[in-house]
Symmetry: C2
């Protein structure tokens, strides 16, 4: 006997990622018994249209979770810290987009297609990885399985949508102000983002890296089950792009590798799409990736920095694979594996 269809809730349904979750719930034809949309008291009462029906947004409170089986949450770390343990205690599977629980031992950190088996160990909370980590996992898992990652160096080119709706509007306002020759006082960002790049995302930690950079380091290790001997470093940079994170990736491997066989491998990797033919200038860009589901990989070449290494460029929609898409995919896996 299969389990009954779940009662689903979307927490933070009015945010940038929340909206994308609604789109993908429809695209992926997720089946459920009932659906609710939750938000903070500020957004509660507003109306959301979903599959042609209007829904009132309900204020998130403890007792709302009484009859919810799966909650897809994207409402920030504080809200998740407040509600995830309560929801889990009430038997709800809380799929969290924030960084609040990602590194906790009892919380699976999952990219669907990479480490689905980890879902079985959940104790009520499942974490969705950080956007800059997420998009790298599908190609890197395939490469690690075959060649064994030894050292990884990532430089990111991250879109402003990763910082929310206000950041998107700030880029537009900043650009328009600059175009008429006026200075602009940034508020979301520490410096102007228009016609600029900013080498800081999230706050700094003790070793001089940012939290965003250490997320790439720590989450990659957790998702791919890499040992401490594997060395990882990242530099995270914000660029004036609306949607689509890009990453310049250098990897050293234990095993012999060459660009041609890596290309063949990634061509057949689920979730990855090659854009890699320099003979006709085919390589990925964020503008192409925006609104799409695959992780696009190109510029694959034998590394000249490492004897056994590859360099490549990896681009994806940060709101999709980096957030909403993987959240919905986790929900689908939880349903399919009857883990709720």
């Amino acid at each position: 006997m299969t389990q009954k269809l779940p009662n689903i809730a979307v927490l933070g349904a009015t945010g940038v990622v929340g909206r994308e979750i609604l789109n993908i719930l429809q695209e992926n034809k997720v089946e459920y018994d009932s659906i609710k949309f939750l938000a903070s008291s500020r957004s509660a009462g507003s109306v959301i249209e979903f599959k042609g029906q209007n829904y009132a947004v309900i204020e998130a409170k403890d007792d709302v979770f009484d009859d919810i089986d799966i909650c897809l949450a994207s409402a920030g770390g504080e809200t998740s810290k407040r509600f995830a343990p309560v929801a889990a205690k009430k038997g709800c599977v809380f799929i969290d987009n924030s960084s609040a629980f990602r590194m906790e031992k009892d919380v699976p950190l999952v990219i669907v297609g990479v480490n689905d088996e980890d879902l079985k160990n959940h104790k009520g909370i499942i974490a969705n990885p950080n956007c800059s980590t997420s998009q790298l996992m599908l190609p890197l898992k395939a490469l690690d399985d075959k060649y064994k990652v030894k050292r990884l160096i990532v430089s990111t080119y991250q879109a402003v949508s990763g910082a929310g709706l206000k950041a998107i509007n700030e880029l537009t306002d900043n650009i328009k102000t600059n175009l008429v020759g006026m200075p602009y006082e940034p508020s979301c960002f520490k410096y102007e983002i228009a016609f600029n790049v900013i080498p800081q995302i999230d706050s700094f930690v003790e070793n001089g890296y940012t939290k965003e950079e250490m997320k790439v380091v720590n989450e990659t290790r957790k998702i791919l089950h890499l040992s401490e001997n594997v060395k990882i470093s990242a530099t995270a940079v914000r660029v004036p792009v609306y949607i689509g994170h890009s990453e310049a990736v250098s990897v050293e491997f234990e095993n012999k590798v060459d660009a041609e066989s890596a290309r063949e491998l990634l061509k057949n990797t689920w979730g990855v799409e090659l854009r890699d033919d320099i003979s006709d200038y085919t390589y990925p860009t964020p503008k192409e990736a925006a609104g799409k589901n695959p992780v696009y990989v190109g510029r694959i070449r034998d590394s000249i920095a490492f004897d056994n290494g590859l360099e490549f460029f990896c681009v994806a929609d940060n709101l999709r694979i980096g957030a909403a898409l993987n959240t919905v995919r986790i929900a689908q896996k939880v349903i399919e594996m009857e883990l709720y």
Copy 2:
């Protein structure tokens, strides 16, 4: 007895870099006996204002070089290939911004303050390095002297001005078109540069790298006199910034290194200015660097990818240290060292 002041010419005076050369000739108070402005037949006859005087732009032809001692050239590879050997034969020192002669054995490739001694070996042609190489040389020379570079991995964030005036205008047009919701057909760039990043600068070579990337590799080796054992790799990416190249740099060293002593070293390195205090969000951005002469360095931290390594972020005005400023500085050194 000191040599008489030189007769100077600026070839390509009407281009983006040419204009900047004129600014810096004035700022740096370069002394000369006479000055001429040369361009292709297309721009010849136009008028340039310099130090309050009007000069007619003269068409570049062989005999123009008869009485020129030093030519500062920024007119593209084809023009340099056409005139550099002729000028050199006539006793003119031809300082070339193009990539045409950079890797030739008899042509010194010089960043002033790094390898000035190489100037002494010139045979009439001196090459100015590529912009993305140039800005890295001042900090990297100091680090190499003390710690010995073993491996270098660079990801660039390059401004459109590196591709000339048309590319600057294309960014503006592309942005304006996008802001009113219209598609845009790029011409300088292969893809739209507005709200996008493009992982290709210059054409591709056989190993899958671009010429721009291989310039970083080969020119760095030549300027710093590094052996073939030193491994270098680069990924060159165009970003929607008008002026100012940025670089995320990972370096492995032979000798023991730590961020604190590297910071102290770079604080006292000529041509370099630290922007490195994460406690108050001080790090370099291209918008700050535009129009300025120093190479700005920040985000210096102990690498967690290498046992003996550093990571840092390096930003400079690509039209200045990456082109015009170093060209003028070479001319000044040639005058000072009486090498003309």
